[in-house]
């Protein structure tokens, strides 16, 4: 069982790294889909089955279709991006290394508590639904309002403006 975790972790890191280094945007999207599926596999290992399914549906389904649609719509695949020169890459490496050292230093002194407050079926639909609709009902309603606002915003952003003439005469 622990071997499965380490294999999945290594594959996840490799896929995520390939997202960063592939030059072709479509390849990046496909590696990102692989990353999401591997993270869903981790959720299944952790007995969080509902979130595993939601992760596949929302991320690998909806969000990745949006990304693929935008990449194909913009026809980006013909001009491959050139990477930055060594100076920004060195700066980025130093920043990432610094934050990594910071995280490492903060974990070294940390006491990770593993006390159990509930039972280990906490990832099943029944328990999540109970907590969601009993304790977190108001945030869920706020979430639906957020989706409504996002939808209206997107429609407004991509609307063609017909009221104004196409070219205003310059003063």
């Amino acid at each position: 069982m622990d071997k499965i975790f380490y294999i999945l972790a290594a594959l996840t890191l490799i896929a995520a790294f390939m997202v960063v280094i592939s030059r072709h945007p479509i390849r990046s999207v496909l590696f990102l889909v692989a990353t999401f599926f591997l993270i869903s596999a981790q959720y299944i290992l952790l007995n969080a089955q509902f979130l595993a399914l939601v992760n596949i549906i929302v991320y690998a389904g909806a969000i990745m279709v949006l990304f693929l649609f935008v990449i194909m719509f913009l026809n980006l695949s013909r001009d491959l991006e050139r990477f930055a020169s060594w100076m920004p890459i060195a700066a980025a490496g130093i920043s990432v290394g610094g934050i990594g050292l910071l995280l490492l230093a903060s974990y070294r002194g940390a006491q990770i508590s593993t006390d159990t407050v509930g039972n280990y079926d906490s990832g099943l639909v029944e328990q999540i639904g109970e907590v969601l609709y009993r304790d977190y009902l108001f945030p869920m309603e706020v979430c639906s309002v957020l989706f409504l606002v996002a939808m209206i915003g997107i429609v407004l952003l991509n609307r063609k403006e017909r009221e104004l003439p196409a070219k205003l005469p310059l003063p």
Binding site: T12, A16, S28, L46, L51, F67, S122, I154
Partner: protein
């Protein structure tokens, strides 16, 4: 008491902390070195997923459903964010005909 999942018995939580930190740092590296804004967006998604993974791991080890509900909210907000962000990227592409973030300073004024 129901049985403990095997992964919780055999893997310490700190390994999940290490995995999600590494994933977060890979996403951060991508945000800093890539120039295509769509790939920068994807790297932000990787960072969000790293945080989600850590939260699910902690919630599962504690047997607490509230952490997993938080992950559900994070996914909902991420979906809204991606849709609005991609709409903005399409708008920028219509104006500038590029997705290179180095050229976005032409928008000023």
């Amino acid at each position: 008491m129901n049985h403990i999942p095997e992964i919780i018995r055999t893997i310490p939580l700190s390994h999940y902390v290490a995995l999600s930190s590494a994933l977060f740092l890979i996403g951060l590296l991508g945000v800093l070195i890539r120039k295509n804004i769509i790939i920068v967006f994807m790297c932000i998604e990787i960072m969000l997923n790293a945080v989600n993974l850590l939260m699910v791991a902690a919630a599962s080890y504690r047997g607490d459903s509230a952490g997993q509900v938080m992950v559900l909210f994070t996914m909902a907000v991420a979906a809204a964010e991606v849709s609005v962000g991609l709409a903005i990227i399409v708008m920028i592409y219509k104006n500038l005909k590029t997705t290179n973030i180095d050229l976005f300073d032409q928008m000023k004024g």
